[in-house]
């Protein structure tokens, strides 16, 4: 079985091998050329700025948790005056949490990014994610009920967006792809939404 370097099999010839027509010029606003750049069946990683996004979010969470812990520690140390070994244990716990968050901020984002990829084919989208528990989800285009492009404040600042595919399934009722460049997310959405004759809805 021929595979490319990332381990996914080469894109099988789909039922329609002719190029996807560009979206009809009905909607207002600039419509970027869709077919060639997005739906080429090539697997690509998400935007590298996603690593920065991950780091920033984790850093914010880490700061709030660590400062809260430190605050609690200080209050307990001052008011309750526990024995030294308890203080030592609590400080060791705080340092362990610090170490864990350092790892989460420095090492984890690159690791996570390396194992995240997507591929948009003519009739479906495949999303690969997960470092230890790895998953590749394939969603046929005709099964997508609707698509959201979501942006939090940090994502807006970095020009990134999250694509959320809604299906009628149960476990995969929502399939998410975070860390895409905003324009890429919009293009993927437009490609997946612009229907062919075999669309269900």
């Amino acid at each position: 079985m021929e595979t490319n370097s990332t381990g996914l099999p080469a894109a099988p010839p789909g039922p329609e091998s002719e190029p996807v027509p560009a979206a009809p010029p009905v909607l207002a606003g600039p419509r970027l050329p869709v077919a060639d750049s997005v739906a080429d069946g090539v697997e690509r990683p998400v935007d590298p700025r996603a690593i920065l996004l991950n780091r920033m979010v984790t850093a914010i969470v880490a700061a709030s948790i660590l400062s809260g812990e430190l605050f609690a520690l200080l209050i307990v140390a001052v008011s309750a005056r526990p024995p030294l070994w308890v203080l030592g244990l609590a400080s060791a716990g705080w340092l362990a949490t610090l170490g864990l968050f350092l790892w989460l901020v420095v090492v984890w984002p690159t690791l996570h990014h390396r194992h995240q990829a997507y591929r948009v084919g003519a009739g479906r989208i495949e999303i690969r994610s997960g470092v230890f528990w790895r998953r590749i989800v394939s969603v046929p285009r005709s099964r997508i009920q609707h698509i959201d492009v979501a942006q939090g404040p940090i994502q807006r600042h970095l020009g990134l967006a999250k694509l959320i595919l809604h299906t009628a399934g149960t476990d995969n009722a929502q399939v998410e792809l975070d860390g895409l460049a905003h324009e890429t997310a919009l293009r993927i959405r437009d490609h997946l939404v612009s229907g062919g004759p075999d669309d269900a809805l």
Binding site: P9, R134, I136, S138
Partner: protein, 515 residues
């Protein structure tokens, strides 16, 4: 050509008292009575003041309810202060379900629920209509629906249908499954719904015992009742007292649970009849509360066939179906109504293949090309079971002390047996248009779904999978929320898993999905 506006049956008032805010009306009146006698507190007065207008408002809603048959749609209007008008196109109505409890049946009325296709389609609950009004509704809706379907052309359900445009009455339909009381007793024996009954009874018992102070010093009610009973029974039994009492207790518990289960089956599934009417499955059951629903064949997502050890003893199986579709305005698709229903609570095994070919046209159960999982699955199952055999007794050793050793041995043997037999019974099949997955050694299950019902396909690898270069394939379908057997195929060779996932995704792409 609009029909006249129809109103609810006059008895709706009676039923309005029984539901929702109406439930507060009677207690509210009782509180007022108590007030007359001077035995009331402040809060009771406030509650009665607040409840009455709420109850009156909901009563008004029932009184102002009216519906009308228009050429293409059913229009339902309700409300006096806040008007609500709901338009339901006939072609969207997939099911007219009726629920009739004893009172409904005595009075000749029914609680009607219109269920619609998926998406932001409205649905309606009409309480109550007389049976002739229900018949009229069924007649109008389904004949219009058939005309619309015939006009629009065939839909993708996959089989030629015998729609008769403009037919006045529903065709009689062919009975697929009919359960006699004896069948129900067998079902109750096999299924063990007794647990449900006992859980409910325990709940009520706990509530009441708190009320009446019937608890021991830890607040645990059943011990006050059971311990004297236990002591007496130990005295009654000859010989080695405790062990015999425990065994007798277990046997007795088993028997009681099965009897309760048979009772549950009798009350809930009495007169179970499943028939095929056109392209809908129509299902009727219930002793006191009679429920009649219909399931369009194309709303069937997954069919699950279950075979417990007791089933095998009787040569029967149980067939359930997962359906989805139908929603209300304003609900997200996650809340789309999904249900698991019985198609055949108990079916002789030799009839299974024929039955399935009716429910899923084009499926030939006996000719399914089953493919096994990877042979290394037995090693992995063995490892998993060994770890469990080691850890579980260890965790429980505080409670069961030296009993942990026999427990460990039992788990060891059962784990070894499972690793031998389970992989043989695991298999998947991908005939044209379907995907099937079977698993289980003693408790066997088969799940079958059409390719057109596949929503997404996932390949997953745990760290343990990666060590063996294996992966699992999961097929996601609609309405599988409380499924007993999701289509999750583990222990596949990695390359095969990727091929399978690609093939299934390709088939899903090539088919159309409709609710």
């Amino acid at each position: 050509m609009h029909s006249d506006e129809r109103r609810l049956h006059p008895f709706s008032l009676l039923f309005a008292l029984g539901t929702g805010a109406g439930r507060f009306l009677l207690p509210g009146l009782l509180v007022l009575f108590a007030a007359r006698r001077g035995e009331w507190d402040q809060w009771q007065m406030w509650i009665s003041i607040l409840i009455v207008p709420y109850a009156v408002a909901s009563l008004l809603k029932y009184l102002t309810f009216r519906y009308q048959f228009r050429p293409d749609e059913l229009v339902i209007r309700s409300g006096m202060i806040f008007h609500n008008e709901r338009h339901i196109p006939y072609e969207r109505i997939h099911n007219i379900a009726t629920v009739r409890n004893i009172l409904h049946r005595l009075l000749g009325v029914a609680d009607v629920r219109l269920e619609t296709a998926g998406g932001q389609e409205p649905e309606a609950r009409i309480q109550v209509l007389g049976m002739d009004a229900v018949e009229e509704m069924r007649r109008r809706v389904f004949s219009e629906r058939r005309m619309a379907a015939a006009a629009a052309g065939a839909d993708g359900a996959g089989d030629a249908s015998d729609t008769v445009p403009g037919a006045e009455m529903e065709p009689a339909g062919t009975t697929l499954v009919a359960m006699s009381p004896w069948d129900l007793a067998l079902f109750g024996l096999v299924d063990n719904r007794g647990g449900v009954v006992v859980a409910a009874a325990l709940g009520i018992f706990f509530e009441m015992s708190w009320q009446f102070g019937f608890t021991d010093r830890w607040g645990f009610a059943p011990t006050r009742l059971l311990v004297p009973f236990f002591d007496r029974s130990v005295d009654m039994l000859p010989g080695s007292g405790v062990v015999a009492a425990v065994l007798a207790g277990l046997v007795g518990l088993f028997a009681v649970l099965r009897v309760l289960s048979m009772g549950w089956a009798f009350v809930n599934l009495y007169g179970f009849r499943l028939s095929l009417v056109g392209r809908d499955l129509s299902c009727v059951h219930g002793l006191f509360t009679r429920i009649a629903t219909s399931i369009p064949l194309h709303r069937v997502q997954v069919v699950v066939v279950r075979e417990r050890p007791l089933h095998r003893l009787l040569g029967c199986v149980e067939v359930k179906v997962e359906t989805a579709g139908g929603g209300s305005v304003g609900e997200g698709e996650q809340q789309r109504k999904a249900s698991q229903q019985w198609l055949a609570p108990l079916l002789p095994k030799e009839r299974l293949a024929a039955f399935l070919s009716v429910v899923e046209p084009g499926l030939d159960l006996d000719a399914l090309p089953w493919e096994p999982v990877d042979p290394r699955a037995s090693v992995r199952i063995l490892k998993r079971e060994m770890i469990g055999a080691a850890l579980i007794p260890l965790a429980l050793v505080y409670y069961i002390r030296w009993w942990a050793i026999p427990l460990f041995l039992v788990l060891l043997v059962s784990g070894w047996l499972q690793s031998r037999h389970q992989p043989e019974r695991m298999g998947y099949a991908t005939p044209a248009g379907f995907v099937a997955w079977r698993s289980g050694w003693l408790w066997r299950k088969i799940s079958i779904a059409r390719a057109s019902k596949i929503q997404s396909v996932a390949v997953s690898e745990s760290p343990f999978d990666r060590r063996y270069a294996m992966a699992g394939v999961t097929v996601d379908t609609a309405g599988a929320g409380s499924s007993v057997h999701r289509i999750r195929i583990p222990f596949l060779d990695r390359a095969r898993a990727l091929d399978l996932a690609a093939a299934l995704a390709g088939r899903a792409e090539a088919t159309e999905f409709r609710w």
